[in-house]
C-alpha cells in the first residue's frame, strides 16, 4: 500500500456527516454528469469497477458506479472509509498480499477485491465526504501519472457534486423571486408560468398592484443560466424599487442602473414593462427590444404591441417612449419570451396560441406552454404572462 505524503487535517466524522447531508445528494437519481466521469475512469484505467462513493452513517452510498451491482454497501471495513479517514490517495496494488487488507471481508468474500485505488472527495468546507475509487479482482499497479489522473478525476467529480448544490440553491432563490401570488385586479384574470432551459433562467416576470391597476414585467437577459439569472434579478429589483415612479422613468432609471454592468459584460436585456389601468382597460407600455406582447381580441384578431425601443444595456443613449393600447372585454394580453416561439407550431404560431386559449382557461393555457416546453427539450427559457379582461 502506498500513501502519498502531506499535512492532512484529521477526519471529523460528525462534520463530514453533516456536510454530506447538506449537499442533498444522498438518494438522488443517477446523474449523467457524474456517470460520464465514472465511464471515463473505467476506460482510462481499464478496470471492471468504478464508484463515486459517499459515506453516510454506517453505509456507503454510491452516486455513480460501474460493476459493483448496487448503490449501497456497509461502511464497516470498507476501503473507502479508510481513504476518507486518511484524507489522501490510497492505492492497494494487491490486497491479498497486504496484511492490513488480506482478511478484509470485501477481499476474502464478494467481490474478492485485489486492487483498490481511491481519492477522497471534499465538500465546500473541506469535509471529507466520500471517494472516487477504481477496483479490480486482479492485482494492478498505478504509476505516478495514473495516480495524478485519479486525483484529477476526483476533483472533477467533487466540483460537479458541489456545483450541483450551489445551483440547487440558485434555483430556490430564483423561484422565490418570481411572483408567488396573483394580484387582485377587479375585472381581470391574470396567469403566468415560466420554465428554465437549464436549471436557472435569464427570463423573469413580475407583477404588483399599481395605482388603479397592475404593473407587469417580462424581461429576457441575453444568454441563459446563472450569469443571466443574476442580471435578471438585478433588473427586477430596480424596477420594483422604482414602482412609484411613472412607467417611463422607472424603465429609464432601471436602465441607467443596469448600463454600466451590462456594457462591461457585453450583455443586454429585452424588456416589456407595462401598467394596466383596470377601470379603463388602458395599457401603457415601454418595450425595450422585446416585441413579444400581443392582444388577442375577442374577434380572434391579433394586435402586436410594437415600439421602436432597443434592448436595455445597449449604451446607445436610447430615447424611450410609452406605447398605449386598450383591453376591451374578453381581450387577452399575452406577453412571452422568445423561448415560446421555439415550442409553438412553426407554420402558424398565432393560430396555435389562439387554439390553446380558446380551449382552455387562462391558467391552463399558460400551463400548456410549460407542458410544451418541457416535452420538447426547449433550447431556451420560456416565460408566458397572460391577462384577460373579463368585465
Amino acid at each position: 500500500m502506498t500513501v502519498s505524503s502531506g499535512a492532512i487535517a484529521p477526519y471529523d466524522e460528525r462534520a463530514s456527516q453533516r456536510a454530506v447531508e447538506e449537499l442533498n445528494v444522498l438518494q438522488t437519481p443517477r446523474d449523467e454528469r457524474i456517470d460520464r466521469i465514472t465511464r471515463i475512469a473505467q476506460e482510462m484505467f481499464d478496470v471492471p469497477m468504478v464508484s463515486v462513493t459517499l459515506l453516510d452513517g454506517d453505509r456507503q452510498w454510491r452516486k455513480s458506479e460501474i460493476g459493483l451491482g448496487g448503490r449501497e454497501a456497509p461502511r464497516e471495513d470498507a476501503f473507502c472509509d479508510f481513504t476518507v479517514r486518511e484524507g489522501r490517495t490510497v492505492v492497494v496494488p494487491d490486497a491479498t498480499q497486504d496484511p492490513r487488507w488480506a482478511r478484509n471481508p470485501f477481499v476474502e468474500g464478494d467481490p474478492h477485491l485485489r486492487f483498490y485505488a481511491g481519492h477522497p472527495l471534499s465538500a465546500r468546507g473541506g469535509e471529507r465526504i466520500g471517494t472516487l475509487c477504481i477496483l479490480d479482482t486482479k492485482p494492478r499497479h498505478l504509476d505516478a501519472r495514473q495516480e495524478r489522473m485519479l486525483r484529477d478525476l476526483s476533483g472533477w467529480v467533487q466540483s460537479e457534486i458541489v456545483a450541483e448544490r450551489e445551483l440547487d440553491d440558485a434555483v430556490v432563490v430564483q423561484r422565490a423571486l418570481l411572483p408567488r401570488s396573483v394580484p387582485d385586479v377587479p375585472g381581470y384574470e391574470l396567469a403566468a408560468a415560466a420554465v428554465a432551459a437549464g436549471r436557472v433562467m435569464g427570463d423573469f416576470h413580475d407583477w404588483y398592484p399599481a395605482s388603479g391597476g397592475v404593473r407587469v414585467t417580462v424581461a429576457d437577459v441575453m444568454g441563459k443560466g446563472l450569469g443571466a439569472a443574476i442580471l435578471a434579478a438585478g433588473i427586477r429589483s430596480s424596477l420594483r424599487a422604482l414602482r412609484d415612479r411613472d412607467l417611463l422613468s422607472s424603465v429609464t432609471e432601471a436602465e441607467r442602473q443596469l448600463e454600466s454592468d451590462a456594457s462591461a459584460l457585453g450583455t443586454f436585456a429585452t424588456l416589456f414593462h407595462a401598467e394596466l389601468d383596470a377601470a379603463s382597460g388602458v395599457l401603457s407600455f415601454v418595450d425595450a427590444g422585446h416585441s413579444l406582447a400581443f392582444i388577442l381580441r375577442s374577434d380572434d384578431t391579433w394586435e402586436h404591441l410594437r415600439s421602436s425601443g432597443m434592448p436595455l444595456g445597449m449604451g446607445f443613449a436610447e430615447h424611450r417612449t410609452v406605447g398605449r393600447a386598450v383591453l376591451d372585454r374578453e381581450d387577452i394580453l399575452l406577453i412571452c419570451s422568445d423561448g415560446l416561439l421555439d415550442v409553438l407550431d412553426e407554420t402558424d404560431p398565432f393560430e396555435h396560441v389562439r387554439r390553446v386559449v380558446r380551449h382552455h382557461d387562462l391558467q391552463d393555457s399558460v400551463g400548456e406552454a410549460i407542458r410544451l416546453s418541457q416535452s420538447s427539450v426547449a433550447p431556451d427559457d420560456v416565460t408566458v404572462v397572460a391577462i384577460r379582461r373579463i368585465a
Binding site: 441575453m222 457585453g266 450583455t267 416585441s291 445597449m314 422568445d338
Partner: protein, 110 residues
C-alpha cells in the same frame, strides 16, 4: 466557426460561416478586435453563411459594433438571412445595425 477575412477597397470583410451563438461569440469578438487593432475602421460582417443567431450572438455583434465605433469606425452587416433579419427587427437593433444586400454595398457612397 470559420471566419474568413478579406480587405476590399479599405473595407474589412469578415465572412462568418456557422450559427452565431454563445459558443462562437468570443471568437467573433476577438476577430473584430484584431481587425480594429490592425487598423480596420470600416468593417462588414458577411452573414450569408449564418443560418441562425441567438441573443448571445447578437450581443457579440453589438459588442463588435461598439468597439468599431469607439475606434472611430463603423461596422455593418451584409447578406443576412431571414432569421437574422427577424431578430434584428424584433429587437429594433436594425436601427443601429443596417443590413446591406452584399458586402460590397455596405460602405458604398461613404
Amino acid at each position: 466557426m470559420k471566419i474568413e477575412q478579406r480587405v476590399v477597397e479599405a473595407v474589412t470583410v469578415l465572412e462568418l460561416s456557422d450559427r452565431l451563438t454563445a459558443a462562437v461569440a468570443a471568437q467573433l469578438r476577438a476577430a473584430v478586435d484584431d481587425a480594429i487593432a490592425a487598423g480596420a475602421d470600416r468593417i462588414v460582417l458577411d452573414l450569408a453563411q449564418v443560418p441562425f443567431i441567438d441573443s448571445s450572438g447578437l450581443g457579440a455583434v453589438i459588442g463588435a459594433l461598439k468597439a468599431a465605433r469607439t475606434a472611430g469606425g463603423d461596422l455593418r452587416l451584409a447578406s443576412a438571412g431571414d432569421q437574422v433579419r427577424q431578430v434584428l427587427r424584433l429587437t429594433n437593433l436594425d436601427r443601429v445595425l443596417r443590413v446591406y444586400d452584399d458586402a460590397g454595398a455596405a460602405f458604398d457612397g461613404d
